[in-house]
């Protein structure tokens, strides 16, 4: 059974969102997603300062099995990217919620975060 931490928010496209103390968000892909993908071999990240609409594709995670697009879960601006994933893509499989964060965003509209799935909602989706 995939791990779904209770303190995070989620989207149907299998990304997790963590709201930081300063109001910015950190985004990665879920344990369910990495398990479905298999061994990750490449991660392509967006550029810092990129402005994105919600659902815009902004990153790619490629496993031996398939390439998967990552979408911005909410509108905002990229303020940081996790360059460590470029040289160590296997971290996505090993620590999807910790060391394998993909990027951080400044959120355009904080209210959009309320519309995201909570842990129970996401877990139910994975089981269906």
């Amino acid at each position: 059974m995939a791990n779904v931490p209770a303190d995070l928010k989620y989207v149907a496209s299998h990304e997790w969102i963590r709201t930081e103390a300063d109001g910015t968000v950190t985004i990665g892909i879920t344990d369910f997603a990495q398990e479905q993908l298999g061994d990750v071999v490449f991660v392509d990240l967006p550029e810092v300062d990129t402005e994105l609409d919600a659902d815009a594709d902004c990153a790619v995670v490629e496993s031996v099995k398939a390439a998967s697009d990552i979408y911005a879960p909410i509108a905002g601006k990229i303020i940081a990217i996790n360059e460590e994933l470029i040289d160590a893509p296997e971290k996505v499989n090993e620590d999807p919620y910790g060391e394998a964060w993909f990027f951080k965003m400044e959120v355009a509209d904080a209210a959009a975060l309320d519309a995201l799935l909570d842990a129970d909602g996401y877990a139910a989706l994975c089981e269906s």
């Binding site: 298999g38 061994d39 071999v41 490449f42 392509d44 490629e62 031996v64 099995k65 390439a67 296997e90 499989n93």
Partner: protein
């Protein structure tokens, strides 16, 4: 419900991720296919290949029959147990299947692909006509475990000391029976090792003994990356019934001599050879990030400013080379470089002669 091999429970015990493969529930990996791939290159891994089809061809007409049916020549097999790799062709010279055939007592043993089982048996039965002294016997009651890697031979003997009688002195591409087991020094990984046919009832215990001896269970994911690195074709990807062995880097498996051996598909191949084979199967090494995958377009320079197009037949990430590699069918005049269309981007790649890896090491410059 999908078919299950005698090792199904062992796969679940080892935390396998199971998938459907040609109607069989098979393990794609047991945690990490990259780690399993590396285990085969560095020590030893084992694969459940019980889904493959084993057919014995027996009787005094067996040699004549197979000399007609196969593009390679079984008459070349002089020593008992010696094997060869061959295509089985249709009248147009297209590949029906690729297989390994071993010389046995009173005939031959064939191992053919799982996905092509029904088609192969139907073809073989159809061509029994005209031969009186011939029987075909399938052996679905035999499971098969492939143990591959530099330490494979030693670990099999550690797991089952009595196997030494069968294994010691066994040549590459040779098989030997021991009671109702069959040990063949063949494989689909480019490493040394064995493919061992075992009565179903004994398979799980043998698997367990190999596990205890330190052999790593490996799934279909690693099987594919290993065989691609070793430059070995996968039927259905790298060739099919519309492709001749000459277009699939299998020309070396066609026995043209003796010139009067009328194997099925010979005329078509001779005509193709005379006209000039239009395409070739090559290796590609990607220069850049990303992974090449089946059906991606390959853009090539043909010289004189002309552009041509080919197609990736099999692509993956090579754990040994830490890079994407592929097999592709390209126009004959293709040179050393090309571009592969990966999700809309033209990514440069080098064209090389297969294989990519031998004895765990890169072989191209």
């Amino acid at each position: 419900m999908a078919k299950r091999t005698a090792l199904y429970a062992k796969h679940l015990e080892a935390n396998a991720k199971m998938v459907d493969f040609a109607g069989w529930d098979m393990p794609i990996h047991y945690g990490s296919q990259i780690q399993e791939h590396n285990a085969v290159r560095e020590q030893a891994g084992m694969f459940d290949v019980s889904h493959m089809t084993i057919v014995d061809v027996n009787g005094s007409d067996a040699t004549d029959y197979l000399q007609k049916l196969l593009a390679n020549d079984v008459a070349r097999l002089q020593e008992k147990g010696k094997a060869l790799y061959s295509a089985m062709l249709n009248q147009d010279g297209g590949v029906i299947d690729d297989l390994i055939v071993y010389k046995a007592d009173n005939g031959y043993r064939l191992v053919v692909n799982s996905a092509t089982r029904a088609k192969d048996l139907e073809w073989m039965e159809r061509h029994l006509r005209g031969f009186d002294n011939l029987t075909l016997t399938e052996h679905p009651e035999l499971a098969m475990i492939a143990v591959q890697g530099p330490k494979a031979m030693g670990l099999v003997k550690l797991a089952r000391p009595e196997s030494a009688t069968a294994i010691d002195g066994l040549k590459v591409f040779q098989g030997r029976s021991q009671s109702n087991w069959f040990f063949a020094r063949t494989g689909y990984t480019g490493e040394d090792g064995l493919e061992i046919m075992v009565p179903e009832a004994e398979a799980a215990d043998f698997w367990q003994d190999l596990l205890s001896a330190g052999v790593q269970p490996c799934g279909l994911g690693a099987r594919d990356t290993l065989r691609l690195e070793a430059g070995m074709n996968l039927y259905g990807n790298d060739m099919d019934e519309t492709i001749s062995p000459l277009q699939a880097a299998m020309g070396w498996t066609v026995a043209w001599e003796p010139a009067d051996r009328a194997f099925i598909g010979r005329d078509a191949l001779e005509a193709e050879k005379a006209a000039g084979v239009a395409t070739k199967l090559v290796g590609l090494v990607l220069e850049g990030r990303g992974i090449m995958r089946s059906h991606q377009k390959v853009l090539v320079d043909l010289g004189n400013g002309e552009q041509g197009e080919g197609e990736v037949t099999s692509g993956t990430f090579s754990p040994t080379l830490q890079n994407s590699i592929a097999m592709a069918r390209v126009p004959k005049a293709t040179g050393d470089t090309c571009h592969v269309d990966i999700r809309g981007k033209q990514v440069p790649a080098r064209v090389i002669k297969l294989p990519f890896v031998r004895n765990g090491k890169k072989v191209y410059e």
